[in-house]
C-alpha cells in the first residue's frame, strides 16, 4: 500500500480540456449505472432481439439453411426484410430502452440532489448546460447502443446480403432509423432528467416517468371521449411518436388507418414531441440551480 505523507502540496500539473470536461459527468454517470449487476444483466439481455433479428436475416438469405430445415421458400426476399421489419425492430428496442431508462435513468440527477452535491459540481468550471448535457449523454449513449446502432447494423447487413443497389434505393430508411431514434432519445432522456431533477427519490422519479407516458394516453382518451374529438391524442406522447414513426417509415395510409394512426395531423404530433422536450428543459432550468433563491 502506498504511504502518503500528511502534508499539503499545491497542484502544478496539466489540466484537461475545458470544452470536454463535461464528459467527466458522463463517465461517472455510466459507472454509477453499471454499478448495479442487475442493470448490467438487463442491458446484456436487451440485445436478444438483435440476435433474433440477425438470425432472421440470415435465414431469409440462406436458401441452404432453409433447405436443411426443410422449409422451402420462394426466394431470398420472402422473409419481408422491409420498412415494416425495421419499424417493428426499432419499436421493440425502443421499448426495452424505455424500461431500462425508467429504471435507472432517474438516479443520474437525483443522486446529486439527494445530498445537495449540486453546489459542489456547479462551483467548479462546469455550467448548468454542460451539467445537463453530460447527464443527457449517458442516456443518449445507452439508448443509442440499444436502438439505432443495432438497427443500423441490421440495415447494413441486409444491404450487404441483398446487394443489387438495395442500399441506395433504401437510403431513406437509414435516415428514418436515425431520425426516429434520436427523437426517441430526446424525449426519453429529457423526461427522465426532468423527473430526476424534481424528485430526489429515484423510485418516485421512475413512477412519475411512467405516469407521464401512461397517464397522458388515458387523459387524451378521456378528452376524445368527452369532446368527441381526436385532439386528445396530443396529450399522448407515445401516440405522437408512433404517428411520426409511421410517417418516417413510409407506412401506407391504409395500413396507418388500420392502426388508428391518423387521429391528428403530423404537425400536431411533432408539436406534442417539441412541447414535451421544451417542458422538460424548462423544468430542468428551474430546478438545476446551485442555490435556491428565496425571494421577498
Amino acid at each position: 500500500m502506498a504511504v502518503y505523507k500528511r502534508s499539503y502540496k499545491p497542484y502544478e500539473g496539466s489540466t484537461t480540456s475545458d470544452r470536454r470536461r463535461f464528459l467527466v459527468l458522463t463517465r461517472y454517470g455510466f459507472s454509477g449505472l453499471f454499478d448495479s449487476r442487475i442493470f448490467t444483466g438487463a442491458f446484456v439481455l436487451s440485445f436478444i432481439p438483435f440476435l433474433v433479428a440477425v438470425a432472421m436475416l440470415y435465414f431469409a438469405h440462406s436458401a441452404s439453411l432453409r433447405a436443411l430445415l426443410q422449409m422451402p421458400g420462394p426466394g431470398p426476399n420472402t422473409a419481408q426484410i422491409n420498412n415494416y421489419f425495421f419499424l417493428a425492430f426499432l419499436g421493440a428496442h425502443s421499448w426495452i430502452s424505455f424500461l431500462l431508462i425508467t429504471w435507472q435513468g432517474p438516479q443520474l440527477i437525483a443522486a446529486d440532489l439527494a445530498n445537495n452535491a449540486l453546489p459542489l459540481i456547479l462551483g467548479r468550471p462546469i455550467s448548468r448546460t454542460e451539467y445537463v448535457l453530460g447527464k443527457f449523454l449517458v442516456i443518449a449513449t445507452l439508448v443509442s447502443v440499444i436502438t439505432w446502432i443495432p438497427v443500423l447494423i441490421i440495415f447494413f447487413l441486409q444491404a450487404g446480403l441483398e446487394g443489387n443497389g438495395w442500399l441506395w434505393s433504401h437510403l431513406w430508411l437509414g435516415g428514418a432509423i436515425l431520425l426516429a431514434s434520436w427523437m426517441w432519445i430526446a424525449i426519453v432522456g429529457l423526461v427522465a432528467l426532468a423527473a430526476s431533477a424534481w424528485l430526489k427519490w429515484r423510485v418516485a422519479a421512475s413512477a412519475v416517468m411512467l405516469a407521464f407516458f401512461f397517464v397522458g394516453p388515458a387523459f387524451g382518451a378521456a378528452v376524445n371521449l368527452t369532446l368527441g374529438t381526436n385532439w386528445g391524442h396530443m396529450f399522448d406522447v407515445l401516440y405522437a411518436v408512433k404517428l411520426i414513426w409511421v410517417g418516417l417509415f413510409r407506412v401506407p395510409l391504409s395500413t396507418a388507418q388500420g392502426l388508428d394512426m391518423v387521429g391528428i395531423p403530423l404537425w400536431a404530433a411533432w408539436l406534442t414531441v417539441a412541447a414535451t422536450c421544451g417542458l422538460s428543459l424548462l423544468l430542468l432550468n428551474r430546478r438545476l440551480k446551485a442555490r435556491e433563491v428565496v425571494r421577498g
Partner: protein, 315 residues
C-alpha cells in the same frame, strides 16, 4: 500584497430584497474571516463570488479578475466547502474526491493520486474506501474539506467549517485550516458566526451586518495598534470609586467606569502601576483585581456592530 478580493459597489438582490448592499473594499489577507450574525449575507457573498448569484449592480474581482466576466476561470481557481451537507452518498470517499478533482480539470490519474493525498491530509486515509453516506458528521465535514483542496486551488472558501463538530473534531478542523494557511499555497476565506474560529485562523476580517460591510480590519495590525489597557475591579465606599477614577484621570490616564467598581484604564508609558496603588490607598479604595488586556476580536466585532447599528439608527 495584491488584493485577493475587491468589492466594487457589489449589490445582490433577491426580488425586491437587497441582500448585499453596495459593498466596497479590498481584502488582502492570507486567511480572511467573514464574520457576521446569522442572515447578515455571509453565505450569499460567497455564493455570489462563486457565480451562483448574479450581482444586481456593481461587481467584485478575485485576483484582479471580474467575477462576471471570468466566472468559469475563477471557479477553476477556487475550492468550495459549503455549509450544509454536500456529498454523493453512494460514492466512496476516494471516488467522491477524485470525481470533484476531475471536474476541476485534473486528469484522471492525477485526480486519483490527489484524492488519496487530500484524504490522508485531512485524516480520512483509513476510511477512504468507505461510502461517504456512511461517514459521521465530522468525517463528512473533513471529506468536504478534502474535495475543496484536492485540485490545488489558489483560494478556498470554507462556509462554517466547524458547524456541528464536537470539540476534538473542531480543534482538528481549526488545526488543518491553520496548516493550510501557514503552508502559504492558497488563500483561505472562512465564513463563520463563531468569533473563536476566526480569531484562531484569520489575519484579516470582514464583518457584515444586514448586507453592509460593518468593518474590514487586519486583525494583526489592529492588535498591534491597540493600546494595552488595564482592567480593574475595585471595592470602595459609595462614590469613592468615582473620585478614584477622577484622580487617575488627573494623573494623565484615560479612564472609563463600567459600574460596580469596574473600570478600564489606559496607562501612559511614563506612569507606573505603583501610582494607581498610591491613589487607591489615599482614597481607601481596594484594588481587588487587575489585568492587562488588549481589544479582542469580540471587542472589534461588537464595536463594528455598534457602529453600523448607530449608522442605521437601529441601536
Amino acid at each position: 500584497m495584491a488584493p485577493v478580493i475587491e468589492f466594487d459597489g457589489l449589490e445582490v438582490r433577491f426580488g425586491t430584497r437587497s441582500v448585499l448592499k453596495q459593498l466596497k473594499g479590498e481584502l488582502r489577507g492570507r486567511c480572511i474571516g467573514l464574520l457576521g450574525p446569522n442572515g447578515s449575507g455571509k453565505s450569499t457573498l460567497l455564493n455570489t463570488l462563486l457565480g451562483f448569484y448574479p450581482p444586481a449592480r456593481g461587481t467584485a474581482r478575485i485576483f484582479g479578475k471580474d467575477i462576471g466576466a471570468y466566472s468559469r476561470e475563477l471557479r477553476g481557481l477556487i475550492g468550495y466547502m459549503p455549509e450544509s451537507d454536500a456529498f454523493i452518498s453512494n460514492l466512496t470517499g476516494v471516488r467522491f474526491v477524485r470525481y470533484m478533482a476531475e471536474l476541476s480539470g485534473l486528469p484522471s490519474n492525477q485526480a486519483l493520486e490527489r484524492a488519496h493525498e487530500a484524504l490522508f491530509y485531512v485524516g480520512l486515509g483509513e476510511v477512504r474506501y468507505r461510502k461517504v453516506g456512511t461517514y459521521s458528521l465530522g468525517m463528512k465535514q473533513l471529506a468536504k474539506l478534502a474535495q475543496a483542496i484536492a485540485h490545488g486551488p489558489k483560494l478556498v472558501f470554507l462556509d462554517e467549517p466547524t458547524n456541528g463538530l464536537d470539540p476534538p473534531a473542531r480543534s482538528r478542523m481549526i488545526q488543518l485550516i491553520q496548516e493550510i494557511r501557514d503552508a502559504g499555497n492558497m488563500h483561505v476565506v472562512i465564513s463563520s458566526h463563531l468569533l473563536r474560529d476566526i480569531d484562531e485562523c484569520c489575519d484579516e476580517v470582514i464583518i457584515l451586518r444586514d448586507g453592509n460591510i460593518a468593518a474590514i480590519c487586519n486583525i494583526e495590525e489592529e492588535r498591534r495598534l491597540n493600546r494595552k489597557f488595564l482592567e480593574l475591579e475595585t471595592h470602595a465606599e459609595d462614590g469613592e470609586d468615582r473620585s478614584f477614577a477622577d484622580a487617575v484621570q488627573q494623573l494623565g490616564c484615560e479612564c472609563a467606569l463600567f459600574g460596580k467598581g469596574r473600570m478600564k484604564v489606559v496607562l501612559p508609558e511614563s506612569i507606573e502601576i505603583r501610582a494607581l496603588y498610591q491613589i487607591a490607598a489615599q482614597r481607601d479604595v481596594q484594588i481587588r483585581r487587575m489585568n492587562y488586556r488588549r481589544d479582542s476580536l469580540e471587542d472589534i466585532f461588537l464595536k463594528a456592530m455598534g457602529e453600523v447599528g448607530a449608522r442605521n439608527g437601529s441601536l
